[in-house]
C-alpha cells in the first residue's frame, strides 16, 4: 500500500546511508570563512576588561566583534527582550558569548580566541531555583528573579481540604536533560548578491531564524532567506537556539562580505544551548477513602536559567498539564518561572509536560497504595470520561472514550497481564504518606518480583493527556502553508513550511500528498523549507508538522482537484466530476469502475494551460482561554497515551535496567507506519535515558560533564524492547484523522519507570534521573 497508512521508503534514506546528505558542516562555498565564539567559563561576573586589539592582529583573522561593535542591534531574546547576543557588561550564564572571531581557517580562529584579553570580577550567583525568590537572593536581572507566574484556579480547594480522607503531599525534584542531537548547532551565512542575507541553518524553525537575523542585521524580512539544511536531530534543541548561531554568523558575514560558517563545538553546545528545564513540584493530592480525587494543590518552580528564552511558554504547558487526564473539580496550581545562573532552560520534546507527568503519575500510584486499589483501577476511577469530561481547564474534552480505550489496552498489555500473577509480593512502605490513612494500605501499587537478594524487578504504568499543537498562548503562530505544483509528467513538487529534522515530516507529507491527489507517491518531491517559497508557517514544534503540513497540503489538493476532476471525468467519459473517486495513482468512475492515471490528467491540465499550482493554507480556529485562571480551551484537541514498563534494579550497584516498555498511543490515524514506529521507539528510549542515566552535573552554573563520555545517553545495549499499540479513532481536525506523535512518544516514559522503580524497591520515587547513587540512597546505602 502506498500513501496514507503505508510503509514507503523515506525519501531521504538512500542519500543518508550513502553519506551524501549535505549537513551544514558539509557545505563549503568558495571564500568561506570560519567563525568561533569566545564563551565565558564563569557566571555571574562583571567584565572589567575585554581587549580584542591583539586578536584582531592575528594572522588570518578578519574580524573580532564584541558588544561594543553592535550598538542597539545586540538583542536576541525571542519573547522577552532580556538577552544580548554578546555580553555587554554582566555575564549571567556560563557559556555566554563574549566575542566572535572570524578567520580564514579554524586554526586562525582558535589563535584569535586565545589572543583576547579578558578580566572579570566574580559576582554572587543564584544556583538554586528553589531559593531564587528568597529576599536575600542575588538578582540575576534588575527586574528581579521572578519572570512570570502561571495559574490554574478551578472550583474551591477548601471544600476538598475539608472533606479529604487521604492527603498525599510530596516534593518532586525533576532534573533537566540535554538534547544530544548528533549534529551540533551550526549555520552558514552567505551575503546575497543583491544585498540581503541567506542562511543555511540546521534548525526546526526557519521562520524564527529569519526574524532573528532580520532584527540583528536591520534588514526587511524579504531580504533574509533561510534555507533549512538537513537537520541532524532537533527534539526542541533547534527551536529557538539556532537564532543565536545564525545571528552570529550573519553579523560576521555582513562585516566581511564573505560566507561565514559557525559550527558549535560539542562541549560548548552542551554548556550553552538550551536544556530541558529542571523543575521542583510541591504537590498535594486530596482524595476520599475510595480513591476519588477531590482536589489538587501544586506549586511548581521552573528553573529558566539567566534568560527567559522560551521558558514562559514551556512553563505554560507544564502548568496546564499538571493534573493529568483526570476529572478533578478543585484545582489550584501556581507555576513560577524563575531566573538563576544555571543552564539555559528551553524547549525539549514534551515541552514541560514530561516533568509534571512524572509528578501526577507518581502521586496516582501513591494514592492507589493508600486506598488499596491496583494502580490501573485508581486511574479508571478518576479518568476523564464522556460522563465526566471536564478537565482542569474547565473545558469539555471531546471523545474521552479514547482514554478508556487507552486504559483497556493498558490492561491487556503483556506487562500488566504478567504482573497480575505477581501482585502478592511484599507491602510497600511509603515514608512520604500522611498519617491520615483510610482503607487498607495492603495491596501493592505495582508488581514486585524478587529475582534474588541482589536484583529486584518492578512494573509501573503511566497515563497522560497531551494538548496537541500550540497552547492558546502560542496560537498567534498557528498557521502554515504548502505550495503544491503538478508537473506535466504527473510528478508533483511540494514545498511545505514545516521542517524535517529526522522525525519523518517529509515522509508523512508525501504520503498525505499522494493520497489527497491520487498521485504516485514515488514521484512526489517534498522540498525542505525555503522561507522564500512558503509563507511563515510558525515553528515545527508541539507535534504539529503532520497536522499543519498535512492540512495545508490537503487544502492545496482540494483546490487542484477542482481543476483535475473535470479533466479526469472528460477522459473517463463520466458525467459527474464530483462523483469520481481519488484512488491510488489516479481517478476512478464509481459507475464504470474505469480508471485514469494521474499522469494522463496532469498532462491534460498542462495542455489546457490551466494553473497547475496551488497554495494551501491552514489556521486553527480562535479559542477562549483566560491565562489568569488557566480556564478555557487551552489546546485545539487532545490525545491520550500510556506506558507500561518493567525494570530491574541491581541493589548492589544501584544500576537501573529497563527491560521492556509497552507504549499505547491514541494517534487518530497512522499516516506512515514505519515513521510512527520510529518516533515511538526513539521517544521511549530518549525518555528512558532521561529517567535512568542522563544527569546534568552542575557546579556554580558550569556543566561538569559536557561530553558523551560523562553525560551518558542510551546506546544500543541500553535500549529496551518497545512494544507498540496504536489506537486509531480518527481526529476530526487532523489530516486524514491523524494526531501528532513526536512529543507524546516521550511524555509517559519517565513516569512509568519511576513507578516501576518504586514498585521494585518498595519506596517512593521523588526525583529524576534515577542514577545509581540515587537508587543506592533510596536503599539507604552510600
Amino acid at each position: 500500500m502506498s500513501g496514507v497508512g503505508g510503509r514507503s521508503i523515506r525519501p531521504d534514506a538512500a542519500a543518508k546511508v550513502q553519506g551524501k546528505q549535505p549537513y551544514v558542516g558539509d557545505i563549503h562555498p568558495p571564500g568561506m570563512l570560519h567563525a568561533a565564539i569566545l564563551a565565558s567559563d564563569q557566571a555571574p561576573a562583571r567584565i572589567l576588561r575585554l581587549d580584542v586589539a591583539a586578536a584582531r592582529q592575528v594572522e588570518g583573522v578578519l574580524a573580532v566583534v564584541t558588544a561594543a561593535d553592535l550598538g542597539d542591534k545586540n538583542r536576541i531574546g525571542i519573547i522577552f527582550d532580556d538577552q544580548p547576543l554578546l555580553v555587554e557588561t554582566e555575564i549571567r550564564m556560563v557559556g555566554e558569548r563574549l566575542a566572535l572571531v572570524v578567520a580564514e581557517t579554524p586554526a586562525a580562529c582558535q589563535a584569535g580566541l586565545e589572543a583576547v584579553a579578558l578580566e572579570t570580577e566574580p559576582l554572587p550567583g543564584v544556583y538554586d531555583a528553589e531559593h531564587a525568590l528568597d529576599a536575600d537572593a542575588p538578582q540575576v536581572h534588575p527586574d528581579g528573579n521572578l519572570i512570570r507566574t502561571f495559574s490554574v484556579d478551578r472550583g474551591d480547594l477548601s471544600s476538598a481540604l475539608d472533606t479529604a480522607e487521604v492527603v498525599i503531599e510530596e516534593t518532586y525534584r525533576i532534573g533537566g536533560q540535554e538534547h544530544a542531537y548528533l549534529e551540533p548547532q551550526g549555520c552558514l551565512a552567505v551575503p546575497a548578491p543583491t544585498g540581503g542575507m541567506w542562511l543555511y541553518s540546521s534548525t526546526q524553525c526557519p521562520f524564527y531564524v529569519r526574524s532573528a537575523v532580520a532584527k540583528v542585521l536591520d534588514l526587511p524580512l524579504a531580504e533574509v532567506r533561510v534555507l533549512q539544511t538537513p537537520t541532524g536531530g532537533g527534539f526542541g534543541g533547534k527551536e529557538d537556539y539556532p537564532n543565536e548561531i545564525a545571528a552570529c554568523a550573519a553579523l560576521l558575514a555582513q562585516r566581511t562580505r564573505r560566507p561565514v560558517r559557525l559550527l558549535l563545538p560539542r562541549e560548548l553546545d552542551f554548556q550553552a544551548s538550551t536544556k530541558r528545564h529542571s523543575m521542583t513540584v510541591h504537590h498535594k493530592l486530596y482524595a476520599d477513602s475510595s480513591g476519588c480525587i477531590l482536589g489538587v494543590d501544586a506549586e511548581v518552580i521552573v528553573d529558566a536559567g539567566a534568560y527567559v528564552g522560551m521558558s514562559t511558554v514551556v512553563s505554560e504547558r507544564a502548568n496546564t498539564s499538571l493534573v493529568g487526564p483526570y476529572a478533578v473539580d478543585n484545582v489550584r496550581i501556581r507555576t513560577q518561572v524563575v531566573r538563576t545562573n544555571n543552564l539555559f532552560g528551553g524547549p525539549f520534546r514534551g515541552f514541560g509536560a514530561p516533568q509534571v507527568t512524572v509528578v501526577h503519575e507518581c502521586q496516582m500510584d501513591r494514592l492507589a497504595r493508600q486506598v488499596g486499589l491496583p494502580p490501573l483501577q485508581v486511574r479508571r476511577l478518576n479518568a476523564l470520561t464522556p460522563d465526566r469530561p471536564l478537565w482542569s481547564t474547565g473545558e469539555t474534552i471531546a471523545q474521552t472514550e479514547r482514554l478508556g480505550a487507552v486504559l483497556d489496552a493498558l490492561a491487556d498489555s503483556e506487562v500488566m497481564t504478567d504482573s497480575e500473577v505477581m501482585t502478592d509480593s511484599e507491602v510497600m512502605t511509603d515514608s512520604g504518606v500522611t498519617a491520615d490513612v483510610h482503607g487498607p494500605a495492603a495491596s501493592p501499587a505495582a508488581s514486585l518480583v524478587e529475582d534474588d537478594e541482589r536484583y529486584r524487578q518492578g512494573t509501573g504504568i503511566s497515563v497522560f493527556i497531551y494538548g496537541a499543537n500550540l497552547h492558546h498562548g502560542g496560537q498567534p503562530l498557528d498557521r502554515g502553508g504548502a505550495l503544491v505544483q503538478v508537473q506535466a509528467d504527473g510528478s508533483v513538487s511540494v514545498a511545505i513550511g514545516v521542517t524535517e529534522m529526522g522525525q519523518g515530516a517529509l515522509t508523512a507529507a508525501r504520503a498525505i500528498a499522494a493520497t489527497a491527489l491520487g498521485a504516485d507517491e514515488e514521484r512526489i518531491r517534498i522540498t525542505e523549507v525555503d522561507t522564500d517559497m512558503v509563507a511563515d508557517s510558525g515553528p515545527t514544534v508541539a507535534s504539529r508538522a503532520t497536522l499543519v503540513g498535512g492540512r495545508a497540503i490537503c487544502d492545496a489538493a482540494d483546490q487542484l482537484q477542482a481543476r483535475l476532476l473535470p479533466l479526469a471525468a472528460e477522459l473517463l467519459d463520466a458525467p459527474d466530476p464530483d462523483a469520481l473517486v481519488v484512488v491510488e495513482g489516479g481517478f476512478e468512475s464509481p459507475d464504470t469502475k474505469r480508471r485514469v492515471a494521474f499522469e494522463e490528467v496532469a498532462a491534460l491540465l498542462h495542455a489546457r494551460r490551466e494553473n497547475p499550482a496551488a497554495v494551501g493554507w491552514y489556521r486553527s480556529k480562535p479559542r477562549d482561554y483566560d491565562a489568569e485562571t488557566g480556564q478555557g480551551q487551552a489546546y485545539m484537541f487532545y490525545s491520550f497515551g500510556a506506558h507500561a514498563t518493567r525494570v530491574r534494579v541491581d541493589t548492589w550497584t544501584g544500576k537501573l535496567e529497563v527491560l521492556s516498555i509497552t507504549a499505547i498511543h491514541d494517534v487518530g490515524r497512522v499516516i506512515h507506519a514505519t515513521a510512527i514506529e520510529g518516533q515511538v521507539e526513539g521517544g521511549a528510549v530518549q525518555a528512558m535515558g532521561w529517567a535512568c542515566m542522563e544527569n546534568l552535573s552542575l557546579q556554580e552554573g558550569k556543566l561538569m560533564n559536557p561530553s558523551f563520555a560523562d553525560y551518558l545517553i542510551p546506546t544500543a545495549v541500553d535500549a529496551p524492547t518497545v512494544n507498540m499499540v496504536f489506537l486509531e479513532d480518527p481526529e476530526p481536525l487532523g489530516p486524514f484523522g491523524a494526531r501528532g506523535i513526536g512529543e507524546p512518544s516521550f511524555i509517559p516514559g519517565a513516569a512509568a519507570i519511576a513507578n516501576a522503580v518504586a514498585a521494585a524497591l518498595g519506596r517512593p520515587v521523588t526525583t529524576i534521573p534515577l542514577i545509581p547513587e540515587r537508587i543506592l540512597n533510596m536503599l539507604g546505602k552510600e
Binding site: 550513502q18 548528533l182 541532524g232 536531530g233 514506529e677 546506546t715
Partner: protein, 172 residues
C-alpha cells in the same frame, strides 16, 4: 601546533593517495577537507559518539581520534566506498533503507560502517552481538530497534550478499 608536512601514502576507498600533509592532522579532517569525503561526520570530536567511524584495514575506528600518520600505509574505507560504485547500495545500506533505520541521518554513516565491519566478521548476528558491536555509535532518534533489525537482516540474507562489498580487500 601541527607537525610539519611529510609525504604520506594512504589508500582510501581503493585509491592510493600520496600527499604532503602533517602527520598530526586528524584522519577525519583529511578525509573531509582534503579529499572532500564528507560522509564521516563530526559529532563530538572525542571518540564518544561514533559518527565519524570509518574502517581502517577493515576495523571500525573513530576517524576523529586517529591522526593521518597512523593511517599511513593502511587501507581506509569510508561510507562513500561502499556499494557498487555506480550508485547501487551495499547490502548494509540497503537494509538500513528498507528497515527504516534512518531518521536524522547524522549518525547513519558511522553506524553503517560499524555494521559493515560486524557483518564481515564471522560472528553470529544475535541481538546481543549486534547491540554490543554498535554500542560505540550513538543514535538519538531511532531507539536502535530498526538499526538492529537492519543489521540482523543482512546477516540472515544469502552469504554471497557480503561478497558484493569489496572494501579494504585490495592491496596498495
Amino acid at each position: 601546533m601541527s607537525a610539519p608536512a611529510i609525504k604520506i601514502r594512504i589508500t582510501v576507498n581503493g585509491t592510493v593517495h600520496v600527499t604532503d600533509a602533517s602527520p598530526t592532522m586528524r584522519l577525519l579532517d583529511f578525509l573531509r577537507n582534503e579529499l572532500g569525503l564528507t560522509g564521516a561526520k563530526e559529532g563530538c570530536g572525542g571518540g564518544e559518539c561514533g559518527a565519524c567511524t570509518v574502517l581502517v584495514d577493515g576495523a571500525p575506528i573513530c576517524s576523529c581520534l586517529m591522526v593521518l600518520g597512523s593511517a599511513a600505509e593502511r587501507q581506509v574505507t569510508t561510507v562513500e566506498g561502499l556499494g557498487d560504485g555506480a550508485g547501487g547500495l551495499d547490502p548494509v545500506q540497503q537494509a538500513f533503507v528498507e528497515e527504516g533505520a534512518v531518521q536524522c541521518g547524522y549518525c547513519t554513516p558511522g553506524l553503517v560502517m560499524s555494521a559493515r565491519a560486524l557483518v564481515d566478521s564471522d560472528k553470529e548476528l544475535t541481538d546481543e552481538v549486534v547491540r554490543t558491536a554498535l554500542a560505540g555509535n550513538i543514535c538519538r532518534c531511532t531507539g536502535y530497534k530498526k538499526v538492529v533489525d537492519a543489521v540482523r537482516k543482512v546477516g540472515a540474507a544469502a552469504p554471497d550478499a557480503q561478497a558484493t562489498s569489496d572494501h579494504s580487500k585490495e592491496q596498495p
